[in-house]
């Protein structure tokens, strides 16, 4: 495999190839579509993150002082809805997945480039509908539980409609990726030579395709409940409020694996490069992604242990929930073993990958607390769950996302990031995140419920600490954003392969030419041959 120290191809890169609004809005180039998604999800990340800063500022004191309770309820609804549906579910898949899948498998584009563009336009339409939903925005929480969501006089319909449209973006992207990975691999790229990032995105795509329709239909049923008064969830009409929860979580539990599996794929790429060692346990990691995806369909009712389901159902779902922990644990041990006897370089991307291991472990282990029946009765709907979910979503997915940005930035934009600034930003993000969320475990055990606009004074000290953490986290993100944007203009020009990586995307120019490779490569080995002799 070539190592490349300077641009080896003299064609214009995909960024230079054409310019102007039309060349971006009508592009069918997967690399540009990836950037469109990247910019869009980042905008929503910033909006939803800013909302969280306001929420935590309100929670600095027990009483309602900055915003009214109703406004607080709207804020947490928007924070959750925007973060889940507009940032983290499309997340790494739609941005980095789009950019990297063809490059990593040795193809010129995805299987259906026009469908790919269509998927992005659906995202935009969903976002546009959402804008209208901001007039009298919903105050239901991102989970939209009935009967409240069927009764509240706020704009539930527009918000759920926006999410419904967005769902198609997810479904079609999943479809596109599955076909691409099956049909467009370069000669010699067998399944067992695929980078683990591809295995991860493949597993995620299965979830996107199969699970998302369920939430789409569920939201339509809610809209029908509100407009036609059908009564699926209304006991006065023979319906069942808890049915909504079952439908909702049938998608939303697999959805959390849509969120985390791509990030796990990123870690599997970064660790080998910056330890100069093969990934340890390739097949274990590859197949555990598939196992997690499959088992994830069978655990949804662990969100309903106290919702009014039978004890038998609760017992079955608790058991299955512990089952899904096994493939997850296997990955963590394999990643750790990758570091053994390596040659470890602390690039900012590596710092994000290492902190993923640390933070995701906390998130995963605290999932055991809420998976255990007796413990969950006490911890459900408290700050413990809020802490658990943010450890896996931020400590897991967002760390993976940031690591991916720092790792592939040179390939994507042809410029190097300022690595010192990257490390400083990482430090603030890491510290700020832990100060924000670790105290919340204790708050939860002590009985502080979630979704509370006001709270009892005994919780004030830890709530204040958590708020201060959010400011530190915000500073880190601002430094990182500054680095990402400034390096576009003043970053050092990137070589083809700055880290001497072995996977295919690094064997072409930075940024790649429009058609990715001058010639489609012929693959003779996996991409983790670090340290291989001869």
């Amino acid at each position: 495999m070539a190592n490349g120290t300077a641009a080896t191809i003299s064609e214009p890169s995909f960024l230079e190839y054409k310019s102007g609004f039309r060349s971006w809005f009508y592009t069918t180039d997967h690399k540009r579509i990836g950037i469109l998604y990247l910019v869009s999800i980042s905008i929503f990340f910033i909006i939803a993150g800013s909302i969280a800063i306001v929420m935590r500022a309100e929670l600095f004191t027990p009483e309602s002082d900055i915003v009214s309770p109703h406004t607080y309820n709207v804020l947490f609804t928007l924070h959750g809805s925007l973060m889940v549906f507009f940032f983290i579910v499309p997340g790494i898949s739609a941005s980095l997945g789009n950019f990297l899948i063809p490059l990593m498998i040795g193809a010129r584009d995805v299987a259906f480039p026009k469908l790919n563009l269509g998927s992005y336009w659906l995202y935009l339409i969903g976002a546009a509908i959402l804008l209208f939903a901001l007039l009298e925005p919903a105050d239901t929480g991102w989970t939209f539980y009935t009967p409240y969501s069927a009764k509240t006089n706020t704009n539930v319909i527009l918000l759920t409609l926006g999410i419904f449209v967005l769902g198609f973006s997810s479904i079609l992207t999943g479809l596109n990726f599955i076909v691409t990975i099956h049909k467009m691999r370069a000669p010699g790229m067998t399944w067992h030579r695929l980078p683990l990032f591809i295995w991860a995105l493949y597993s995620t795509a299965i979830l996107q395709l199969l699970a998302t329709p369920v939430v789409g239909i569920t939201l339509l049923l809610l809209i029908a409940e509100r407009t036609l008064g059908i009564g699926f969830f209304d006991p006065d009409k023979g319906g069942d409020p808890v049915l909504f929860q079952n439908f909702f979580w049938f998608y939303s539990h697999p959805a959390v694996y849509i969120m985390i599996i791509p990030a796990m794929g990123v870690i599997s790429e970064i660790l080998p490069v910056f330890s100069r060692k093969p990934i340890f346990g390739y097949k274990a990691i590859a197949y555990s992604s598939v196992a997690i995806a499959i088992i994830s369909f069978f655990v949804w009712a662990h969100h309903l242990f106290v919702a009014g389901i039978s004890e038998t159902a609760a017992i079955i779902f608790s058991f299955l929930t512990f089952l899904v922990a096994v493939p997850t644990a296997i990955k963590v041990f394999n990643w750790l073993a990758t570091l053994y006897k390596g040659s470890i370089q602390f690039h900012s991307a590596m710092l994000y990958a290492l902190s993923f291991l640390f933070l995701f472990t906390v998130g995963g282990l605290t999932g055991l607390h809420v998976g255990a029946l007796a413990a969950d009765i006490h911890l459900h709907d408290t700050y413990f769950v809020v802490a658990h979910m943010h450890y896996v979503m931020i400590g897991g997915t967002v760390m993976g996302f940031f690591g991916a940005l720092h790792f592939w930035y040179p390939k994507w934009f042809g410029k190097m990031l300022d690595d010192t600034l990257g490390k400083i930003a990482w430090f603030f993000v890491f510290i700020g995140f832990n100060v924000t969320f670790f105290p919340q475990f204790f708050l939860g055990v002590q009985g502080m419920p979630r979704r509370y606009a006001t709270y009892l004074p005994e919780f004030e000290p830890l709530m204040k600490l958590s708020t201060i953490g959010s400011w530190i986290l915000a500073i880190g993100m601002i430094i990182m954003a500054y680095n990402l944007i400034k390096s576009l203009y003043s970053g050092e020009k990137a070589p083809d392969n700055p880290y001497n990586s072995l996977s295919l995307e690094w064997q072409t120019s930075s940024p790649p030419i429009l058609e990715n490779f001058k010639e489609i490569p012929v693959v003779t080995d996996w991409s983790y041959g670090y340290g291989k002799k001869g």
């Binding site: 309820n73 539980y145 009967p147 409240y148 009764k151 209304d234 006991p235 006065d236 409020p241 808890v242 330890s275 100069r276 060692k277 346990g281 097949k283 274990a284 106290v306 009014g308 609760a314 608790s318 512990f322 089952l323 096994v326 644990a329 296997i330 963590v332 041990f333 750790l336 073993a337 570091l339 053994y340 006897k341 040659s343 470890i344 370089q345 602390f346 290492l354 291991l357 640390f358 055991l368 607390h369 998976g371 255990a372 029946l373 007796a374 413990a375 969950d376 009765i377 006490h378 709907d381 408290t382 055990v445 002590q446 009985g447 419920p449 006001t454 983790y528 041959g529 340290g531 291989k532």
Partner: protein
């Protein structure tokens, strides 16, 4: 520092046992993983650009070990959680029943002897209690951290939980399922009383449970407490802002327009009537959703509320 709330029910300590078990196991694995992570990172820190690294791709034995051992431990956690859960879900046959109705945003408790209280639950020390619960409007959830109990209340069905209160005292009860604007104000107190005190409460004197507040507190202060504890705060502001109900600020003496088109001046009688039978004269522009406090507040308490409302100029 108190890691957990008071241990005030017969199974609270057992729930804590499960929590501690999972936590200790988690800490052990967390330390193992973190120590290895940091140790490897520094021991194998890059020395030169051409460090030699061994071509290690995996180890079957290790894979088996770190699949089997976690599986066993996970099963043990599941089993322990299940065992305590079974006890939490099996009320004793002689448990005393209390009916609970939750509605935005108050808790209504009805006892076997016909008594009814709002936002205050009276139970006897060391006597198991079974809550038979339902919601009137949307989902709510009955959560008493000190007892380690929680169960959603669902419109259209009955749900249950039970506990045996093992410690005399007063405990917080929270609504733990988001239910709208007043969710975080939907608070109540649980009074666990000695048999003598409970018996006295049962037989008549409403104020016993609130531990003499009516006797010793001045009316305005009592009124202010009631405003918060009986749920008024969820719908009626004291700063002039309009909520589900009209603001209480400068209400006394105000000329109010009613839904039937008439107007009146807000006086003591109007306030008393609107507290006890709110649907009688609803203010124009507001929905008739206020719960009735007739039979729930004593005359003395209504007096105190009126004094408090008068003080809000």
């Amino acid at each position: 520092m108190n890691w957990v709330p008071e241990v005030a029910s017969s199974f609270a300590g057992k729930v804590d046992g499960v929590l501690w078990f999972v936590t200790v196991l988690s800490i052990v694995f967390f330390i193992l993983i973190t120590v290895l992570l940091i140790y490897f990172s520094f021991k194998y820190k890059r020395k030169t650009e051409n460090d030699e690294t061994p071509y290690i791709t995996g180890n079957q034995t290790l894979e088996i070990i770190w699949t089997v051992i976690p599986s066993i431990l996970l099963f043990v956690i599941f089993a322990y959680g299940l065992i305590v859960y079974k006890e939490m879900r099996t009320p004793p046959g002689d448990a005393v029943e209390v009916n609970v109705t939750a509605k935005q945003w108050i808790w209504i408790f009805k006892y076997q002897n016909g008594k009814s209280t709002i936002n205050e639950l009276f139970v006897q020390h060391n006597r198991p209690v079974k809550m038979v619960m339902r919601a009137d409007d949307v989902l709510h959830s009955f959560f008493v951290p000190a007892f380690r109990v929680k169960q959603d209340l669902v419109p259209g069905m009955y749900t249950q939980l039970w506990f045996n209160p093992t410690k005399v005292g007063t405990y917080d009860l929270f609504c733990a399922e988001y239910c709208g604007t007043g969710h975080s104000q939907m608070l109540a107190k649980v009074y666990v009383m000695s048999p003598e005190a409970f018996s006295r409460w049962e037989k008549g004197d409403e104020e016993e449970g609130t531990i003499g507040t009516a006797v010793t507190k001045a009316s305005e202060e009592l009124g202010k407490d009631l405003y918060k504890n009986k749920g008024c705060i969820a719908c009626h502001s004291i700063d002039g802002s309009v909520g589900v109900g009209p603001s209480l600020k400068a209400l006394f003496g105000k000329n109010e327009s009613l839904q039937d088109g008439t107007t009146l001046e807000v006086d003591e009688n109007y306030l008393r009537e609107s507290i006890l039978i709110p649907q009688a004269k609803v203010v124009s522009g507001f929905a008739p959703v206020m719960p009735a406090f007739k039979g729930i507040l004593t005359d003395e308490e209504v007096d105190a509320l009126i004094v408090y409302i008068k003080s809000l100029k």
